[in-house]
Amino acid sequence: MTAEKVPLVLVADDESDLLGIVTFRLQRAGYDIVTASDGAEALALTRERRPELCLLDMMMPKLSGMEVLREIRADPELAGTRVIMLTARALEGDVQRSFEAGVDDYLTKPFSPQELIARVTAQLGRSRA
């Protein structure tokens, strides 16, 4: 254990079972996790808890991943928040739009645990495992 602060990662997905997998993997990799089950909750928690990284599912109720991303990018107080978008393979146009909206990376579902950890680690700049 070091005194260094453990990075907080927000994971938002309306599919609670998939949320469980991502949460399990990231906790095992040593991150603190906060979860949201829709876009509005994800945005509220991002403002309240200031996670270093948000993993946003593209298709969510209330606010889509894309809308949450735009809100984050429009808010100067959230500058520096990293965002990885989770998209379904069937919607490849989403990737293009995400980059235009300022996403840092994306993951295409289904993804392996190794892929997930690799992308998150790349964004947070260090390995926790």
Binding site: I21, A88, R89, A90, E92
Partner: protein, 560 residues
């Protein structure tokens, strides 16, 4: 011919006319086509009989059309009643029928002494004594009738008089031919109008000044324009506005498809949106437009055809949304299953029995298999719907081949099949294509080869240059494919008999998907095989030029 003239006509100084010798049915058809058989008297023809009568000072002149049952007096001068009003008479009164049957002039100074004419009723009842008749020839050398002159006393016709008769007969025929040609054009116009009116596409044409000159019913139907008298083409643009496909940029006169066509451009199925003024209804249309130019290069105007694709586009969007939804709904639970299986093994794997761990592996393997089948089915549905998307970029050829061999290596080793690669030195570093999809092609082909190659056999994945094309090959030493099964193998759900009988896994989509991907890259897939000796699948891809773009990109390319 001279012999016959000696018998009943005076020798004619003009060159002998040749009898057409054509079928009588064709002659009668030509006669019908003039539409003159039961037409009222016309000044255009009466002018000729009057002129003839005056020019050579003869009391009676007539233009007679001869059918198979009667003589029709198209025009007459001096015949008198009742025939003048009836405008037709039985053939038993007709001298002119002999002109028609011989195709040559019939000339007599005194019919009473002429062996052919002396018992004709016209001699005894109508006092037709002197007679001269010349054929009315069509351009196709059909004789429709005769232009004739008669008088009730004997008369020796001079050559000059007969020449006048022949010249006027030719003038009469010009008049008749003019009418036939006009009627043919009118019929053709009616036919073309029928074609245009019955097109499902909305057609509209302008003259070189851009003034609308033609429309069809579909135009009004599609654009919901008012019926009847309100259909004033000049007011077309009061009713309809055309926008770019985005639905917001209104076209100016200079950017409208028909205007571009007027300036020589061909517009092929470009997407636009039209908005109807009254109702505000929006329709998505595809407009094609082309200049109309004579072979000599004279510009006559331009035509535009619009197709309403509103319903088709909506169906396409609904289908894509459906695929996305189905894809999500099928994959999400499977992703959860595989995810939690992995977690279970990690968390509790140590505590499970060997059997329990085996069961977990079997669960995982089957989930992965189901995931692949769902992926294949959804992709096949995309291909079917024409919505296959290729993400085109540079693809490293060597990596493509070695990655395939590496990833299938463990399976091949497990089956005791040797799996190697062979890449020629002269292949390019990269080709243009969708790396994921091209890898899928090679993976499918290698998976296939593994299914049909017995233990101890070998599989080689190759990349070569043949005739300027990149040739990717997957060669196995398997059981081979009989010639009769080869042509259908790339169809969906087709499986080789050996696959069916051998209970080999798969639904028969792999090769159909390979073909769709390869053709999407402007390439070709084929196979060479002999039963018992093995099979080579060959994928030929263009060495450098960009492959066929995804549908969206293709549309943009058209529009630019």
């Amino acid at each position: 011919v001279p012999e016959r003239e000696d018998r009943y006509t005076r020798a004619d100084a003009a060159p002998a006319l040749i009898a057409p010798g054509l079928d009588e049915a064709e002659r009668l058809a030509a006669l019908q086509e003039t539409a003159l058989l039961d037409a009222p008297a016309e000044e255009a023809f009466d002018r000729f009989t009057r002129l003839e009568s005056r020019l050579i000072n003869v009391p009676i002149a007539a233009i007679n059309l001869i059918t198979d049952e009667r003589q029709v007096l198209l025009s007459e001068c001096g015949i008198g009643e009742p025939w003048g009003s009836r405008r037709q008479m039985p053939l038993s009164y007709s001298f002119c029928q002999h002109v028609v049957s011989s195709g040559a002039p019939v000339v007599t100074a005194d019919a009473r002494t002429n062996p052919l004419l002396h018992d004709n009723l016209a001699v005894s009842e109508l006092d037709v004594i002197a007679y001269a008749g010349v054929p009315l020839f069509t351009a196709e050398r059909q004789v429709l009738g005769a232009f004739c002159i008669t008088q009730p006393e004997p008369r020796e016709w001079t050559n000059a008089e007969l020449e006048v008769l022949r010249d006027l007969a030719a003038a009469v025929m010009s008049e008749i031919e003019l009418r036939v040609t006009r009627a043919r054009f009118a019929a053709q116009r009616t036919f073309l109008t029928g074609v245009i009116e019955n097109l499902h596409d909305a057609v509209y044409a302008v003259d070189p000044s851009g003034t609308p000159v033609l429309k069809n019913e579909a135009l009004y139907v599609m654009q919901g324009l008012p019926q009847g008298q309100a259909r004033d083409l000049q007011r077309y643009h009061d009713w309809v506005r055309i926008y770019e496909a985005d639905g917001t940029t209104e076209l100016t006169m200079g950017t409208s498809p028909i205007y571009r066509a007027l300036h020589g451009e061909r517009v092929v199925r470009e997407p636009f949106v039209i908005v109807l003024h009254g109702s505000g209804i929006r329709r998505e249309v595809e407009i094609s437009s082309a200049p109309i130019v004579t072979p000599e290069g004279v510009h006559l105007g331009a035509v535009s055809a619009s197709r309403d694709v509103t319903a088709a586009r909506a169906a396409e969007r609904a289908r894509e949304e459906f695929f996305a939804l189905v894809s999500h709904e099928l994959r999400t639970p499977l992703a959860a299953i595989t995810g939690y299986l992995e977690m279970l093994e990690e968390v509790d794997g140590e505590r499970l029995s060997d059997d329990g761990r085996d069961f977990l592996r079997i669960l995982d393997r089957n989930s992965q298999r189901l995931l692949r089948v769902i992926g294949d089915l959804l992709f096949a549905a995309q291909i079917e719907a024409g919505t296959m998307h290729l993400v085109v970029q540079d693809v490293g050829l060597r990596e493509l081949v070695t990655d395939t061999v590496t990833s299938a290596g463990p399976r091949a080793a497990g089956l005791d099949v040797s799996l190697t690669s062979q890449v020629s030195d002269d292949v390019p570093e990269t080709i243009r294509g969708d790396p994921g999809r091209l890898a899928q092609v090679l993976d499918n082909l290698v998976s296939n080869a593994l299914k049909f190659t017995p233990a101890g056999g070998s599989i080689e994945v190759g990349a070569h240059i043949v005739d300027g094309s990149v040739r990717l090959t997957v060669t196995d030493t398997g059981i081979g494919i009989p010639a009769e099964e080869q042509p259908r193998l790339f169809e969906r759900f087709e499986r080789a008999r050996a696959a069916t009988e051998g209970a080999v896994q798969g639904v028969g989509l792999g090769l159909a998907i390979c073909r769709a991907i390869v053709e999407g890259h402007d390439g070709r897939i084929s196979l060479e095989s002999a039963p018992g000796e093995g099979t080579t699948f060959i994928v030929e891809l263009p060495a450098r030029q960009a492959p066929g773009a995804a549908p969206d990109e293709a549309k943009e390319a058209h529009a630019s």
